[in-house]
Symmetry: C2
Subunit: 138 residues, 2 copies
Amino acid sequence: MGHSLLASFQRDGRRVTRPRKAILAVLERTRHPMSVSEIHTSLTRGKIAVDLVTVYRTLSVFKQLGMVSRVEFQEGQFRYELCQGRAHHHHIRCRGCGHIADLMLCPLKKVLAMVERETRFLVEDHSLEFIGWCPQCR
Amino acid sequence: MGHSLLASFQRDGRRVTRPRKAILAVLERTRHPMSVSEIHTSLTRGKIAVDLVTVYRTLSVFKQLGMVSRVEFQEGQFRYELCQGRAHHHHIRCRGCGHIADLMLCPLKKVLAMVERETRFLVEDHSLEFIGWCPQCR
DNA sequence: GCTGTTGTTGCAAACGACTTGCATTTATCA
DNA sequence: TGATAAATGCAAGTCGTTTGCAACAACAGC
């Protein structure tokens, strides 16, 4: 596990702990953005006792270190996925079964400059999520 | 106030009440998406006593009737703005002061077909919000 | 390896956004 | 004007997330 991720930790004076290793492992073996409670449930099912609060705090640290990105699908909760070398991308989520698929495209590259020109904002981030019906549910 | 909006109400067997008129008025005189508590505070400051719960329920009705659209900026809460004839659009929000500006463009029209082709989802909705720094805060 | 420092954890409790249940009020219509 | 059914207010509950604090455990230095 860990590898370079583990390194980003200690570089920052942070400690490599059992909960952090376990949470990282869960994220590594999942290929869609997970909610905090999904991660916690996964740990529990794997007989790894980690407090829900620790999951929150760990994800917050991961996010600060740029290890995970936070996504939101108008669900009233956040989801997290590992960045680790993956290109910037977006998602689509099914209203029926909740399945989330990656979109390996970001159609916004050209738009950013236009947005900055139009609004005089400095664009730092953007969120783009699609919602629809997957092949099984449509 | 109201006009055609008022009509959408009664058409549906719904009633035009004091809280609903007041909430509609608040939305009409504001030009950015408001959170529920912002709306409630605005009512309270205007000496209009409306329960917070009623604001939630009213916005839910407005949304069902297609009168408002719901936006979210990775804040952990939703915001609402009147649709009333306004074209589909997106927003940009300042990390510093929280100011929200409209973007009168949607660069995704051409992308939707591509997304549907790639994922075989039926795309029903999308959310696209930018986050950055406004001219004053940058 | 032992030990001290200090970052991290677990637990309890708080918080904020949002929802639900229910008795009371009130818009609407005959 | 009165009946009725929708809407409101209030209290309480849910759910996601955060905070306070004492106990714990990495890990650096001995």
